[in-house]
Symmetry: C2
Subunit: 161 residues, 2 copies
DNA sequence: ATAATTCCTCAAGTAAAGTTGAGGTCAAGA
DNA sequence: TCTTGACCTCAACTTTACTTGAGGAATTAT
């Protein structure tokens, strides 16, 4: 493919740092849409380098593949994205990231309060209520409905000897 | 089991907000070690309420099950944890959380610089280098070795019309 | 022209964190 | 006592994000 403006999957892999299998997987998930040559092999546009690089960056920001697919639908297929494209999307990144930082900072504040009071008591500890649906993204019991336990008579910290 | 100081799995589920199946799963992973009655049914200590609550909180802090298992080995089996136990562990939580917040804040700073310069260029964009091994915990191509692509002649943003 | 690469399509495996279901046993209340 | 409702085990399924391998076709290099 030397001199051509189309890339083989191997060439794209080399340029993006992805594996060939990952690129095929991303195609399956709708992140790239290569054409085929006569022999049935994939041929990619140079713009796909950027497209896949975008995927890597977006993953770093904590987006899932399907969220990224949505983002990519806002990007042009055939040409490289413009500055305006990027500005729009990077602001979405920024919001996403801000939210995650906020959640974690709030959690840290609760932890600090908890270290101070030395509780970890189901009755009063803020930490047990930190796990609202919004913050529980994919972790913890999957179908937990958020119903928290009743007070427990045995739920006090023992004092150190 | 009314009046007994041992809990059935259902009672424990009710008190922790976990499902019965999740508790069985956690046992399998070594997070709790219930005894059995004559009939072969699980009987839990009241201290296991706190143990499992700890699991929930630790997950909120981003620890995996196996990391939590390690933490729990530092906690007493038969009795409730002391204030000293909790102080020690909560400080580990704090460090963990601080690191995550730091990583995300750094990423945000890079993003801000990137929004400013409007790049997203493989040649120069910081974001493409944000994905070092430390920050890539389980996400992205699993066996990516960190080898970044070569410069690409087609790697410039197009200007807006 | 032939050998060595690269590429193709499935299908199946992996890890985490559980859930769901089948088939059967135990315990508690009427 | 009998009948629910809770519990048991074990196997299989779920999701996300890929990897690995088998068996074969296309390209490229010599």
């Amino acid at each position: 493919m030397k001199g051509s403006d189309l890339l083989t999957i191997g060439e794209l892999a080399e340029r993006t740092g992805l594996t060939v299998s990952a690129i095929r997987f991303y195609e399956e998930k709708g992140l790239v849409h290569p054409m085929r040559n006569q022999g049935g092999q994939r041929r990619f546009l140079r713009a796909d380098i950027r497209r896949l690089s975008f995927v890597l960056v977006a993953q770093e920001f904590g987006f899932t593949i399907s969220e990224i697919a949505v983002q990519l639908k806002q990007l042009p297929e055939g040409r490289a994205p413009t500055k305006a494209d990027w500005t729009r999307i990077s602001k979405q990144f920024r919001r996403h990231l801000d939210q995650r930082i906020e959640r974690m900072t709030a959690l840290r504040d609760k932890l600090d309060a908890c270290i101070g009071c030395g509780c970890l008591s189901m009755k009063s500890c803020q930490l047990y209520n930190a796990g609202d649906a919004a913050s529980r993204h994919g972790r913890g019991p999957r179908y937990l409905l958020g119903d928290r336990p009743e007070f427990d008579r045995d739920d006090e910290l023992t004092e150190d000897p």
